[in-house]
């Protein structure tokens, strides 16, 4: 039978395709809307390739299963949404402290509390700033399309291995539920066992832990971890720039709100406004270089489009050291800002009719 790599998938499904093509061996998860299609698709496809799928008893169990499988040297992942991610934070901190690779997908929904299942971006702080206890950070990738749901999942596994650190794919209910055409990447083979793994092919002296009773030892670990995060900041910033070449104004938006902002750029440009979009594809590291380049090239003002109370805007302001005004255009509660709302907000701020 002839096969094609072009396919129409939901964002949530594309994550699983990306994971399997990246050679992921284990999926551990617990159902939650709007992330459940990831578990459904994993339940269907992982066993077809002899790979491991477990519906765990809760999110705490799933993240600890990821810890176990990763310690055993296997590529492993889990997925959830806001409240489930809150439960995983203990485990993520252990994974960061034990310097294990792991991939975690957060398909954000409305909060706080039980909130609702509509798309939000209000997990930004808990994902990008560390989230659990201790001075650690996770790499955070922010797909803006179904293609990127697949591609950034693949990248997540590679970065997790490269830096031995948990990597989040931070997305939202709308990108998770939406279908787009994508091109599937080439399948990758089995990732060779890392030399630190708990596996009979690796040295028996191997052990994985994050406890250091001696304060001097633990400080050294923290210093080493934070050097690693500096390295990540230097090497791994990613952002897509749209019509930034001559931009006097710029949107900063990631995920689904970047899609609305992109259309707003087209519409405002058709009315003659020189506006562009910086779309962070990494939230940690935050693409400060792209923002600062924009400032240097003459962007006068930024508009941060977010589905939260303004969580990313802090990083925008810090990155450019408040050298330009930054305005928040936001919706909460599971509402996606419409293109029209975004355009109106920009015009209102700039006093344009």
């Amino acid at each position: 039978m002839k096969r094609t790599n072009k396919i129409l998938l939901k964002g949530n499904e594309a994550v699983v395709y990306g994971a399997l093509l990246a050679g992921c061996e284990c999926y551990f998860g617990y159902p939650i809307t709007p992330a459940s299609e990831i578990a459904h698709t994993a339940a269907r496809l992982f066993p077809k390739l002899g790979r491991i799928f477990i519906q765990a008893e809760c999110e705490i169990a799933s993240i600890n299963m990821v810890l176990g499988a990763s310690a055993a040297g296997r590529r492993a992942m889990t997925a959830s949404s806001g409240l489930g991610i809150s439960l995983k934070q203990e485990g993520v901190s252990y994974i960061a402290g034990s310097e294990l690779p792991a991939v975690i997908i957060d398909v954000m929904r409305g909060g706080p509390g039980l909130g609702n299942i509509a798309p939000e971006q209000a997990d930004y702080n808990q994902i990008v700033k560390g989230g659990g206890h201790g001075s650690y950070k996770c790499i955070v990738l922010a797909p803006g399309s179904v293609q990127e749901m697949c591609d950034l999942t693949v990248l997540a596994f590679d970065l997790a291995d490269k830096y031995r650190t948990p990597v989040y794919v931070l997305t939202d209910g709308m990108i998770g539920q939406m279908m787009e055409k994508l091109e599937l990447p080439e399948p990758k083979g089995r990732r060779p066992l890392p030399e630190w793994a708990l596996n009979r092919e690796c040295p028996k002296a191997n052990c994985i832990a994050s406890i250091y009773l001696d304060t001097g030892d633990l400080e050294k670990v923290n210093i080493r971890l934070n050097k690693k995060y500096d390295e990540i900041k230097k090497n791994e910033q990613r952002a897509e720039e749209y019509h930034m070449e001559d931009a006097e104004y710029a949107f900063v938006a990631y995920g689904i709100s970047s899609r609305m902002a992109r259309t707003a750029v087209d519409e405002l440009r058709s009315e003659g406004m020189k506006i562009g979009l910086i779309r962070p594809q990494t939230l940690f590291p935050f693409p400060a270089d792209a923002l600062n380049r924009a400032v240097d090239r003459g962007v006068k003002e930024f508009f941060c489009v977010e589905m939260s109370n303004g969580q990313m805007i802090d990083d925008v302001k810090l990155s450019i050291e408040c050298r330009r005004p930054v305005t928040l255009i936001n919706r909460m509660g599971g509402n996606v800002p419409s293109v029209e709302e975004i355009i109106q907000a920009v015009k209102a701020k700039l006093g344009v009719k």
Partner: protein, 473 residues
């Protein structure tokens, strides 16, 4: 310097505790008389005798045994408090030929991590659990444990454990043995020599079950914490033998290992052909070259379509077929459904956007080029989002006189009636699709492209229903 060997250390231990930081490399950190120390020796001895050191993974808990991995000459991992069974689950799956030991205390296993142990037992994971019940939180300085005896004084039950307020000691063996999956459950006591000999056998039996892939084994050890219980050795043994065994009777609670077949784990494949066959979709006929583009003016700009109606009318699948058509003809397409409780209210809608450029907003919520309404509420809710020059296609069986603007093009199709006449109410969406295609061919498309659209529809229908049979809504 002559080596003075008084009692040989079991060979399952490291000779020198190299994983232990600091200067002390020969001794364990346990207090004298601690049950953990006794159990460690029994495990280490069995590991050496069964020659499994190079393929055993020990999961150390949070509790006094947090550093268990310092001592055993095997692979070690330190778990968050109570989560060891989840970690053990994963490792028993990734390393199916290894012996996986989850070593846990009573707070760890029967309080914070109780669900994890029950679920791992119920799944019948191939693992061995060694459960140290010392009726106290040892590590944190002697607080009440779920297994603390009624009346027992602890830091958090300073007047004795009150059963009225805190319930009774949790009986783990009694509970776990009720599940179908576990193969072996026994309670022992690390007190007198005969009891310790029984415990030694239990350790061996559990480990052998793991080696033979028989599934889940759990051994509970009533165990002394002389420091927190403020007892000497004699008092400690009396407490274990006389007080604890009253609540926690010793014995075998379940042993069905002989009747069980070994658990089977699949072998993962990474074979390129097999992965592609599994993940890449079938290439349907009627495909076109990658550079194919429709030339008709209607397709030269982004096109936004909104489809809405009752759940069950095929609104989402109609949108999906259109999205597949777009994909097959090299458009960038997005298909965005309403989801969740929105659907439960009985309405469904989706947005489909086609473009030869990057699709921006996938939401068709203003200036829609084509709007398909299958019921009256959809007209009421969405008609305002149709572009002043857009096209409305509606089900004239259920909707009358939608209030459209002067430059909008309107087609009323008696879709539900036609579908009912054809004998299948659910075909209304196909009737609408047929009408849309005909409308495009007659009003919008160049002559030479009309036939191709028919081919694209046929291919899209095949592909859509092959890949998404569940899109009935």
């Amino acid at each position: 310097m002559a080596d003075v060997v008084k009692f040989a250390k079991p060979a399952g231990f490291f000779d020198t505790f190299v994983r232990r930081p600091g200067p002390i490399k020969k001794n364990m950190h346990y207090c004298p008389g601690c049950g953990h120390g006794i159990l460690h020796k029994l495990i280490a001895e069995a590991m050496a005798d069964f020659k499994i050191k190079d393929h055993t993974v020990l999961i150390a808990p949070v509790g006094c045994a947090v550093f268990a991995y310092y001592y055993f000459d095997c692979y070690g991992v330190s778990s968050p408090h109570g989560r060891a069974p989840a970690i053990a689950t994963a490792i028993s799956r990734t390393n199916p030929d290894d012996v996986v030991i989850s070593y846990q205390g009573d707070g760890d296993l029967a309080s914070i991590g109780f669900n994890h142990i029950l679920q791992a037992a119920n799944r019948g994971e191939n693992m061995t659990v060694f459960f140290v019940n010392n009726a106290i939180y040892g590590m944190t300085g002697g607080q009440m444990a779920p297994t603390t005896l009624p009346g027992q004084v602890t830091q958090t039950s300073p007047w004795g454990r009150s059963v009225e307020e805190t319930g009774y000691p949790i009986k783990v063996c009694e509970m776990i043995s009720q599940f179908e999956a576990p193969v072996y459950v026994e309670r022992c006591a690390l007190s007198t020599v005969p009891n310790i000999m029984k415990a030694r056998n239990a350790v061996r039996k559990a480990i052998q079950n793991s080696m033979n892939k028989k599934g889940f084994s759990l051994v509970e050890f009533l165990s002394g914490c002389p420091v927190n219980l403020k007892m000497n050795a004699e008092q400690m043994n009396a407490f274990l033998n006389e007080k604890m065994t009253k609540f926690f009777p010793l014995g075998v609670y379940k042993d069905v290992a002989d009747e069980r077949a070994p658990v089977h784990h699949p072998v993962p494949t990474f074979d390129r052909e097999k992965v592609i066959e599994t993940l890449y979709p079938q290439a349907f006929d009627h495909a076109v070259e990658d550079n194919f583009r429709y030339k008709s003016p209607v397709f030269q700009k982004e096109c936004k379509v909104k489809i809405s109606g009752f759940g069950g009318q095929g609104v989402l699948s109609l949108g999906h077929v259109m999205a597949v058509m777009g994909k097959l003809r090299n458009f960038n397409v997005s298909w965005l459904p309403s989801y969740g409780p929105e659907m439960r209210g009985g309405t469904a809608n989706c947005s489909v956007v086609f473009s030869h450029k990057h699709v921006g907003s996938p939401q068709a919520d203003y200036n829609c080029d084509l709007m398909i309404c299958m019921n009256q509420p959809s007209v009421d809710k969405f008609l305002g989002q149709l572009s002043p020059k857009g096209v409305l296609v509606y089900d004239a069986s259920t909707i009358s006189n939608p209030p459209t603007g002067p430059e909008q093009t309107v087609y009323g199709i008696r879709a539900s009636d036609i579908a009912a006449e054809m004998g299948n109410q659910k075909m209304a969406n196909s009737v609408i699709l047929g009408a849309v295609i005909q409308m495009m061919q007659e009003c919008l498309m160049n002559e030479d492209e009309k036939d191709d659209l028919d081919r694209a529809v046929e291919a899209a229908l095949n592909e859509s229903f092959a890949s998404k049979p569940e899109l009935a809504a």
